[in-house]
């Protein structure tokens, strides 16, 4: 489906963000891309839809190469790549419906989009998606009136509105609380399954990633250092990705914390950060 080969990206400042990355995403496969800040996760997915111009390499979607594409065909290709952003990136002063419909911009002409006269089939699809993400009662609310979780749902609906083949998801949960983060991850992975979509999800919350996806790719300083199932990701790999850290010590501390928290308030624990070792047990079982 999506084949990335030898992708290299060097910023004008001289920083090497991606170093000869090879990655293949099969149809319907959801990948979590983990790694420390500055490892090149964001750059990687922004290269795929060329919001950032890569320095070298090829990115093939089906049998077309995105890197060597002219502007018109790039526009046509971008609509096959739905993107979901960390800070939601909704147009704040437009309504929920206008934001969702903006996912069709690659399909409709300028005047149609200017007058907001979209084909009825687009409107139907927008309503279906808003119902699916649970926001059909907020059609005419302005985006800046929504909560974080609601905004991300609109962002998801906008991306799916493009009828994409692949979703590019940039830190979807970084600005959300733990409970909403889970709901959003469940929504994204659920939608991918329903529609047979592939996805690359940048995420820095490793346990959350391990809970929801079947393939994890670890990136460090622009290079892939781990590629495999969540169950294969052990302390050694984490050290390699994130650098030296006493992962077992963290584990012990977390247990104590957990015990205290359980004593203090059982309800709080549901919303509390679910820690790494516990997630591993879940994944292994």
């Amino acid at each position: 489906m999506l084949q990335i080969e030898g992708l290299t990206m060097r910023y004008p400042t001289g920083d090497l963000a991606l170093d000869n990355v090879d990655l293949t995403v099969e149809r319907g496969q959801v990948i979590a891309l983990i790694g420390p800040s500055g490892a090149g996760k964001s750059t990687l997915i922004r290269c795929v839809n060329r919001l950032v111009e890569p320095t070298a390499g090829s990115i093939r979607l089906g049998d077309i190469d995105i890197v060597r594409m002219g502007r018109t065909s790039l526009r046509r290709t971008r609509r096959r790549l739905g993107m979901i952003f960390q800070e939601y990136a909704l147009v704040e002063r437009l309504s929920v419906m206008e934001n969702v419909l903006s996912g069709r911009l690659g399909y409709v002409g300028f005047w149609r989009s200017y007058l907001r006269r979209y084909p009825q089939s687009d409107i139907d699809e927008a309503f279906r998606l808003l119902e699916r993400v649970g926001l059909d009662h907020m059609v005419d609310k302005r985006a800046d009136a929504l909560s974080g979780g609601q905004r991300q749902r609109v962002g998801i609906a906008r991306a799916l509105m493009q009828n994409p083949d692949i979703l590019l998801v940039d830190e979807p949960t970084a600005s959300l609380d733990p409970k909403t983060s889970r709901q959003i991850m469940r929504l994204i992975t659920g939608l991918c399954r329903e529609r047979g979509l592939g996805a690359i999800i940048n995420i820095h919350d490793v346990p959350l990633a391990m809970q929801f996806v079947e393939r994890i790719v670890g990136l460090r300083a622009g290079e892939i250092v781990y590629d495999g199932p969540p169950s294969g990701l052990d302390d050694a790999h984490l050290t390699e990705i994130y650098g030296e850290e006493d992962w077992s010590g963290t584990r012990a501390a977390d247990r104590e914390e957990e015990a205290d928290a359980a004593k203090a308030d059982a309800a709080l624990k549901v919303a509390a950060r679910v820690d790494l070792p516990e997630m591993k047990k879940v994944a292994a079982s």
């Binding site: 419906m97 206008e98 907001r116 009825q120 139907d124 927008a126 309503f127 059609v139």
Partner: protein
């Protein structure tokens, strides 16, 4: 309600009918008003001159394109006068505007019903009359010369600085003022410890900004006899000496660029 149900299909429009109608009506009225105004202006216009404008512009550009650089020496002194006029005028204006602003701000005014409306009245009057009109009046009274220009600049600056400054005073954090008052400070001490530090950056910024504007304004006051480079400009235009005009334009442009740079630097240093 932009969402409507038609044959169990939900239809969405950006605006409902009444809203859409109001917007169309607004545009209609606006365009009609514009047409009426255009009609009025075009009746007062001698169109032959307007169609002739490209020719005129070309002609002017040709005459301006070869400026007599020797003329530059003769405008150095007027340029110095212009800068002086702006600087001294701004100084006087700021000195008068500052107490006025304290009288006009509702949270520092000593009397809400007498002094405050009076101060606001002075500020509004000063703001509504352009410095060129002030200069026109002052030249009649004081005679032509720099003095009329300086006072004209000062009178216009009072309103500008006064308005921005009293708005800044009204926006200060009352908690800080209260804290100073709670120490048992006298009203003047409250002003100097609680209010003044809060508005100092705004005060400096506004003054420098006005100085920058005043440099521009001072370049034209000479047209009505109030001194500065405008006197030379007026004389050159009246004698159709476009070469000299272009030298003056270049001098103005240089001065304005430098003053804008200075003002940006100073404001940057303060904030």
């Amino acid at each position: 309600m932009p969402v409507t149900q038609i044959d169990d299909r939900k239809v969405w429009q950006r605006r409902d009918r009444a809203q859409q109608l109001r917007i169309w009506l607004g545009w209609l009225v606006g365009v009609a008003l514009f047409m009426v105004c255009w009609e009025y202006i075009s009746r007062q216009t001698i169109w032959i001159f307007v169609w002739d404008a490209p020719q005129q512009a070309f002609d002017m550009a040709r005459r301006m394109s070869n400026p007599p650089w020797g003329y530059f020496d003769r405008i150095l002194w007027p340029m110095w006068d212009t800068i002086n006029m702006a600087t001294l005028g701004t100084l006087i204006g700021v000195v008068i505007a500052t107490p006025l602003a304290f009288l006009a701000a509702w949270n520092t005014t000593p009397s809400r019903f007498v002094l405050r409306p009076l101060a606001l009245g002075i500020i509004v009057t000063s703001r509504s009359i352009n410095s060129l009109i002030w200069a026109l009046l002052l030249v009649l009274i004081l005679g032509p010369g720099l003095m009329a220009g300086i006072i004209a600049i000062a009178l216009r600056s009072i309103g500008f600085v006064g308005k921005l400054l009293y708005e800044a005073i009204e926006e200060i954090d009352e908690n800080q003022v209260e804290a100073i008052r709670a120490t048992g400070a006298a009203p003047t001490q409250v002003l100097s410890y609680g209010v003044w530090p809060q508005i100092l950056p705004a005060f400096a910024g506004i003054s420098v900004y006005r100085w920058d504007i005043n440099i521009r304004e001072a370049t034209i006051l000479g047209l009505v006899g109030a001194g500065g480079i405008g006197v030379q400009l007026s004389a050159s235009v009246n004698s159709l000496a476009w070469g000299q005009v272009s030298v003056i334009f270049i001098a103005i442009l240089l001065t304005v660029v430098v003053s804008e740079w200075v003002s940006a630097k100073v404001r940057h240093a303060i904030i």
